[in-house]
Structures are given as structure tokens and as C-alpha cells.
């Protein structure tokens, strides 16, 4: 009896205005008929009613101080993270690789598919720093490799789906596999560069960018394989393999065989021979990997 009386007190107070301390509608069945009539006005009354307890909360000096302290803590934390993130991920250096525009992307894709007519492969410098990719088509960027990688994973899922072999974890497997091969390539090339003591300005991120360009050819091959079957796949893949081979040789020649290649003289001597072998090996690994990562997708 007293419990019922206390429960009945709340809808009585809702008759006139919304109760500011109640956050949720009490939808127990004993009061449902009483509530139906009042849900409209009480719903309208809620925003103004909830604003007043919040305003009352802010006007309280202690909570004001607490909020100011909390926001200053958050600002300090953000500063600390911003200062230290540069040690682990070179954010400012990464920004250089994403400074691209549509014209650059178009020209670079054309270069990746048809590098045979391009004459000057040298990256232009501006007071000791290389020019941003936006202004020079020879500069490496990370936008195209990143986009091409994601597109490759999606197109692989599409190809698997058309053959009824798709399941969501296969997407993750494809992405992980491609990333693992990329990591292995980067480590192998860094090890070889260290062993042959090449004095080069080829940074790790540059290397990742160059090795990521092969995903563009892989996407082209898979798409043609989906449209035209195995013949189309082999034709387009062969063309892209040749293009990537020539592209890599012409780009890496300038980075690894710096002194000799600048004059265009055929290189002799043990040191230059080793560098030439390394360039050829890196360029030859690209078509192999392109085939290895795509042949199981096209049936």
C-alpha cells in the first residue's frame, strides 16, 4: 500500500511540469495509462528542464574549477603526445609523401603503365630538400601505394566473390599476406644495402613507396582477368610486369648507382657491379611478386 502510494506520487507531479530529477520515463504497467497523456508535454518540457540542472551544475564554483583543471590536463596530455609522436612515427616526413594532387597522380599512373618515353628521371631539389611530389612527377609518394594496396584487397575480395570462394576472414588474410611480403622485401633490400655499403639517400619510406607501386599493376591484371578470363589476365599482367621492371630499374639506378648513372657510362668494377646486381634483383623481384600475389585469384 505505501509502495503504491509512493509510486503514484510521481505521475501526479508530472501533471503540471516535467520532473527535473527523472531522467527516464517510468514505463511500468501500473502507470502506463496515466503516462500516455502526459508524454507529449513532458517530452517538450525535458530540454528546458535538463538545461537548468546543467546550468546549475556549471555555476557551482567547485565543479567549474574541476572542469578547468580537467581541460588543462587534457591540453597538457595532447601536447605531450604531439611532442613524442615524432619519435616513433615521423609525421612531418610522412606529410611530404602525401602532398599530391590529381595531376600528379594521373601523370604517375601513366608513368607506371608506360615508362618507356620518359626521359628525365631525376628528382628536382630545392635548396637541399627534394621537391614535394605535387611539383615533380619523379618524386616518390605514399598516396598511390596506400590507395593501391587497399584497392587490391577489395578487388581480391571481389574476385573471390565471383568464384564463390569468398569469406570475410579471407580479406584479412590477403591484406596480411601482401603486407608480410612487403615487409620482407623492405628488410631484404635494407640488409643488402647495408652489406654492400651503398651511400645512398634512399630512405626506408622511399623504399616502401617504390615497392608499393606494383600494386597498381596487380589491380589492372586482376580486373582484366575478371573481365576477359585468363588470357586478359596474362596479357595485362605481362605488360604491367615489363613496365614495373623498367620503372624500377630507371628509378633505382639514380638512387643506388648515383655517380656512374649520372653520366650514363656503363659501369665496371666490383663495387659498381654489385650495385648493378642489386638493382636488377630488386627490379626482377617485382614481376615475380606481382604474379605470386594474384595468380590464385584468377581462375
Amino acid at each position: 500500500m505505501p509502495a503504491l502510494a509512493s509510486k503514484r506520487r510521481i505521475p501526479v507531479s508530472h501533471l503540471g511540469m516535467a520532473d527535473p530529477h527523472q531522467l527516464f520515463d517510468d514505463t511500468s504497467s501500473a502507470q502506463s495509462q496515466g503516462y500516455g497523456a502526459q508524454r507529449g508535454p513532458s517530452g517538450l518540457g525535458y530540454p528546458t528542464a535538463s538545461a537548468s540542472p546543467q546550468a546549475a551544475f556549471l555555476a557551482d564554483p567547485v565543479s567549474n574549477m574541476a572542469m578547468a583543471y580537467g581541460s588543462s590536463l587534457a591540453a597538457q596530455g595532447k601536447e605531450l603526445v604531439d611532442k613524442n609522436i615524432d619519435r616513433f612515427i615521423p609525421v612531418t616526413k610522412l606529410k611530404y609523401y602525401f602532398a599530391v594532387d590529381t595531376l600528379y597522380v594521373g601523370k604517375k599512373l601513366g608513368l607506371l603503365f608506360f615508362p618507356y618515353l620518359h626521359q628525365d628521371w631525376e628528382v628536382q631539389y630545392q635548396q637541399d630538400t627534394p621537391v614535394a611530389p605535387r611539383f615533380d612527377v619523379n618524386a616518390p609518394d605514399l598516396y598511390i601505394p596506400a590507395m593501391a594496396f587497399i584497392t587490391y584487397v577489395l578487388v581480391a575480395g571481389l574476385a573471390l566473390g565471383t568464384q564463390d570462394r569468398f569469406s570475410p576472414d579471407l580479406l584479412g588474410l590477403q591484406a596480411s599476406s601482401a603486407l608480410a611480403w612487403l615487409t620482407l622485401e623492405v628488410l631484404a633490400i635494407l640488409l643488402s644495402l647495408y652489406l654492400i655499403t651503398v651511400n645512398t639517400d634512399l630512405t626506408t619510406i622511399d623504399l616502401v613507396a617504390f615497392l608499393g607501386y606494383k600494386y597498381v599493376g596487380m589491380i589492372g591484371g586482376i580486373l582484366m582477368g575478371l573481365l576477359f578470363g585468363k588470357i586478359g589476365y596474362y596479357l595485362v599482367l605481362g605488360w604491367c610486369c615489363m613496365s614495373i621492371f623498367v620503372f624500377m630499374i630507371r628509378t633505382l639506378r639514380l638512387k643506388i648507382l648515383a655517380e656512374a648513372a649520372a653520366e650514363g657510362v656503363p659501369v665496371r668494377g666490383a663495387r659498381n657491379q654489385l650495385r648493378m646486381y642489386l638493382t636488377m634483383a630488386v627490379a626482377a623481384a617485382q614481376p615475380l611478386l606481382m604474379y605470386w600475389l594474384t595468380f590464385h585469384l584468377v581462375r
Binding site: S177, W181, Y194, L195, I196, T197, N199
Partner: protein, 85 residues
Amino acid sequence: MAFTLYSLLQAALLCVNAIAVLHEERFLKNNCTVGWGTDQGIGGFGEEPGIKSQLMNLIRSVRTVMRVPLIIVNSIVIVLLLLFG
């Protein structure tokens, strides 16, 4: 085609273990028959340390740097493999 990042990590751990257990006297000394020693390569102070001396330097530095972390990582991996197979 199950070449994942996890298998790459496993392979890397096994390779570093292999480098760490190389026998010092047989392979990394100067007077052995294979000629893998590092003291011979000091003569070339110029730009040409040569592949063998670079490799020796690399192996020695890996052994020195990774001795303690390898113990820790190996213990963790052994425990995890025993528990979760």
C-alpha cells in the same frame, strides 16, 4: 598462401635465435679455416669494408644487442605456446 605477418614474426624470431647460437670459436674467429674473422678486414680503411666484414660486424652486433631481449622473448613465446598451442 598462409604467409601472414605472424609467420613473419615467427621466422624473424627463429633467425635471430639461430644467429645467437652460432659457435664463436668455429665460425667467428680469425684463425679458422673458413676465413670469417673480422681482424683481417681492418686494412681497408677506405670506402670498401667488404661484404664479409660487414656481415661479421652485423652478426657480432646482433649477438651483443639481442642477448638479453632474446631470453625474455623466448621465455614468453615458450610459455604462450605451451598454454595455447
